[in-house]
């Protein structure tokens, strides 16, 4: 066990998979010589060589298309999008080919696409998005959103070993800010198993990614009011841990769904709808959503703060539920 940043944990997990499985290779913009825009693959080319750590041209279409072909031929490619936002260029390859190949032709497509996502540092509309919901809607893709260093490593290992195309959303705002103990040995964190970030009795927050920490800070303020908040970190959206969510909803009867992605069509809607369908008789208040508004992510720090759910927003939402 050692204290590691979220970024180190991703880096270590990736290195470990490359060491134990020769089929694993990395491809992306500036991932080789430069070590990646965020330095996740720093030193990788020295260790694994230019054939396994490939600097790609500025074409996400080529990167994901190449990965898809390599995966069909038996490799385990790990693509890096420099920013998650750029994945839209590769939409067709992911959605039309990679996600459907298994159903169409029977061949698995075990690719992992790493997606540095999220805002909080004035990256503006092209460098701050959380497009996980768009892909959660596509059957055939798996969507992974780790919040802790330990999960970042374990979920990356699972993604690389999974026979399906996996979109691995790593939140940029967690990279160096979040530090925690990570087991030294290799392990796989299973998909579809939520993590109870903290137990509570009165209210539930269902969230993932960086919002786990926003939820935690907000919950501390409610704790001072004598209201105990349970925080459930979904860890993966496809598959998602419906059971854990329903259990928490049944326990507290008041649920807040929190995500950094925009509101309409956000995955929070799916969760809220499922709770309404399957735990209706256990609800003591309407399920509440706190999300970003339906706009592009603004540059201005003030506006970005207004855009990304803040601790105060969550506190207000929780109080509203508590008083309902």
């Amino acid at each position: 066990l050692a204290e590691k940043t979220y970024l180190q944990a991703i880096s270590d997990g990736l290195r470990e998979e490359m060491r134990r499985d020769k089929r694993v290779f990395v491809i992306g913009e500036d991932v080789g010589v430069y070590g990646g825009a965020f330095k996740v693959t720093l030193g990788f080319q020295e260790e694994f060589g230019a054939w396994r750590v490939i600097d790609a041209p500025l074409s996400e279409t080529a990167i994901v298309g190449g990965c898809t072909g390599a995966a069909i031929m038996g490799m385990r490619p790990v693509a890096e999008m420099q920013f998650a936002d750029f994945i839209s260029c590769a939409w067709d390859h992911l959605v039309t080919v990679a996600a459907k190949q298994r159903w169409r032709a029977g061949t698995p497509v075990p690719i992992t696409v790493r997606l540095p996502s999220g805002g909080g540092f004035s990256g503006g509309p092209f460098h701050s998005q959380n497009p996980e919901s768009s892909f959660a809607h596509i059957p055939g893709l798996k969507v992974i959103c780790p919040a802790t260093p330990e999960d970042a490593k374990g979920l990356l290992a699972s993604a690389i070993q999974d026979p399906n195309p996996c979109l691995y959303f790593e939140h940029k705002h967690l990279y160096r800010r979040i530090k925690a103990e990570v087991p030294d040995e290799r392990y796989e964190t299973p998909f579809g198993k939520a993590r109870v970030h903290q137990e509570g009795d009165d209210l539930s927050i269902i969230t993932w990614g960086a919002m786990v920490y926003t939820a935690e800070e907000a919950a501390q303020q409610l704790d001072a009011d004598g209201v105990s908040v349970e925080i459930l970190d979904l860890r993966t959206l496809v598959p998602w841990d419906k059971q854990a969510v329903l259990e928490s909803a049944r326990k507290t009867s008041k649920v807040l769904v929190l995500h950094e992605d925009t509101h309409t069509g956000g995955f929070g809607g799916e969760i809220a709808a499922t709770i309404a369908e399957e735990a209706f008789e256990d609800l003591d208040a309407p399920v509440k959503r706190i999300t970003a508004p339906d706009t592009p992510v603004p540059f201005s720090p003030q506006l970005e703060k207004a855009f990304i759910p803040q601790v105060d927003d969550v506190v207000a939402g929780l109080r509203d539920l508590a008083e309902y």
């Binding site: 009165d202 009867s253 209706f280 008789e281 256990d282 609800l283 003591d284 208040a285 008083e323 309902y324």
Partner: protein
């Protein structure tokens, strides 16, 4: 908090199965001041008699239902504050019969109590054109949160047979939250249910509906020409008596009643009771009655006979892992009987049962029981033995499967074996027990084994275990 606006006093929901109540006494008269929660009137239902506290402070501007009248739950009984009859739906409701029709009805019902007065109020109160009412939407959680029951609260309420309107709400606008109802169930119902802010019926009704609240039901079946013979006297049936009458008839029409009896040598219990009596009275102020011994042993025995603690519900047989023990208690005036329930008796030792029985019996006699304390029983014990009777065939309290009768402990010549195994006659305190059971569910052999085991527990009473 004085009330500027008019507040309705309605017939409260006294437990899920109660649909009507009778106003037995007004404790205030029109024009008098009253404080919130101060007792305003007494009502009687087929379950309990109780006082209704005022929902607000202010002047009792109008009494709409007179003493002796029986009305449905939710019917407006009176108005606190505001101008008389100024509450939208009850405009200009003269309390006395004024129409020819009313007079006719009164005449028809002569001999019964003055139950028709409010029927005319309804007639009178119906304006030619329904006026736009100022009543708030019933489900507006913001202004009258009590009227909105969340899904989880509704479910818990129905599972526990609790009326959410009896629960003090702590949510927005006084809404009853899940926590409120869970606490309510855990702590037991408060002494007197607040007059519920039941949504005013007219607000939700179509335009042509009567403008007054739910019309009073024509009180007890009009006793067709009651002609008294010389020497006969009449008294109206109380709500409780009507309830008992209905229940007794319904029970006999529902269950296949069969009674088995057994004789129990109470020597050991008598000896132990003698010893415990002083200790219990001194330390706890509780009398360990024979009934508590029998109750304790019964609860223990029921564990092995879940069907006897069960019920037939539709096509299903219900069994449970708890025993809610009902006790038939005669009221002080000798004119009624009530069956308070000791909930979760399986968790009580002898002292706990003795204390529980003393408490509910006392409160039953004092008319201090809450509706929920007379509901939810799973098995009942009746104790007519106090008057020396040695046998009976009680009627099952529906929807239960059986009722145990306990009778007088009587010294009797009893054949026992002496040290050498020879038969001798000894004087022993003997008590008869009867089990009246629903033969649809409980076979005679099962009832026999139950009584045998119960006798065994009493005859070999294990002080340490109980």
């Amino acid at each position: 908090m004085a009330t500027e606006t008019a507040v309705d006093v309605v017939m409260p929901q006294m437990g899920v199965s109660v649909s009507e109540g009778t106003v037995t006494k007004w404790l205030k008269s029109e024009g008098e001041q009253i404080e919130a929660d101060e007792a305003l009137l007494e009502i009687s239902t087929d379950k309990v008699d109780t006082e209704v506290p005022s929902p607000a402070s202010g002047t009792l501007t109008q009494i709409l239902v007179q003493e002796g009248e029986t009305v449905e739950v939710g019917t407006k009984l009176a108005q606190i504050g505001g101008a008389p009859g100024a509450n939208g739906q009850t405009q200009a409701a003269p309390p006395e019969p004024a129409t020819a029709q009313a007079a006719a009805e009164s005449a028809d019902a002569s001999g019964a109590e003055g139950e028709t007065a409010t029927a005319e109020v309804v007639e009178e109160a119906r304006p030619a054109e329904p006026e736009p009412t100022a009543a708030v939407p019933v489900s507006d959680g913001g202004t009258d949160g009590k009227s909105f029951v969340s899904p989880v609260v509704a479910r818990i309420a129905s599972e526990h047979g609790v009326d959410p309107s009896q629960v003090q709400g702590s949510g927005r606008g006084g809404r009853v939250t899940k926590k409120d109802i869970l606490n309510f169930i855990e702590e037991g119902a408060p002494a007197a249910p607040p007059a519920a802010a039941t949504p005013a019926a007219p607000a939700a009704q179509p335009a042509e509906a009567p403008v007054a609240p739910a019309p009073p039901t024509p009180a007890p079946p009009p006793p067709q020409p009651v002609v008294g013979e010389t020497g006969e006297q009449f008294e109206p049936m109380t709500a409780m008596r009507r309830g008992i009458a209905e229940h007794m008839r319904r029970s006999l029409d529902t269950s296949a009643h069969v009674t088995s009896a057994i004789e129990v040598d109470m020597s050991r219990v008598v000896a132990i009771r003698k010893k415990l009596k002083q200790e219990y009275e001194k330390d706890y102020g509780v009398n360990p009655t024979y009934l508590s011994f029998v109750a304790r042993a019964t609860v223990e025995t029921l564990r092995d006979y879940p069907w006897i603690n069960g019920e037939i519900r539709g096509e299903q047989i219900v069994t449970r892992n708890y025993v809610n023990l009902g006790f038939a208690v005669e009221l002080a005036d000798g004119k009624g009987l009530i069956v308070p329930v000791l909930k979760h008796a399986e968790g009580l030792n002898l002292l706990g049962i003795a204390r529980g029985v003393t408490d509910i019996a006392q409160r039953a006699r004092d008319k201090k029981l809450t509706p929920d304390e007379v509901q939810g029983g799973t098995f009942t014990i009746t104790n007519p033995g106090g008057y020396g009777t040695f046998h009976g065939t009680p009627v099952i309290s529906q929807p239960q499967a059986a009722i145990l009768g306990t009778y007088a402990v009587v010294k009797r010549p009893w054949v026992i074996q002496d040290d050498r195994g020879e038969d001798v006659i000894a004087i022993r305190p003997i008590m008869n027990l009867t089990l009246t059971y629903d033969h649809r569910l409980v076979d005679g052999a099962l009832a026999g084994r139950f009584l045998r085991d119960l006798r065994e527990k009493l005859q070999t009473w294990d002080e340490a275990a109980y």
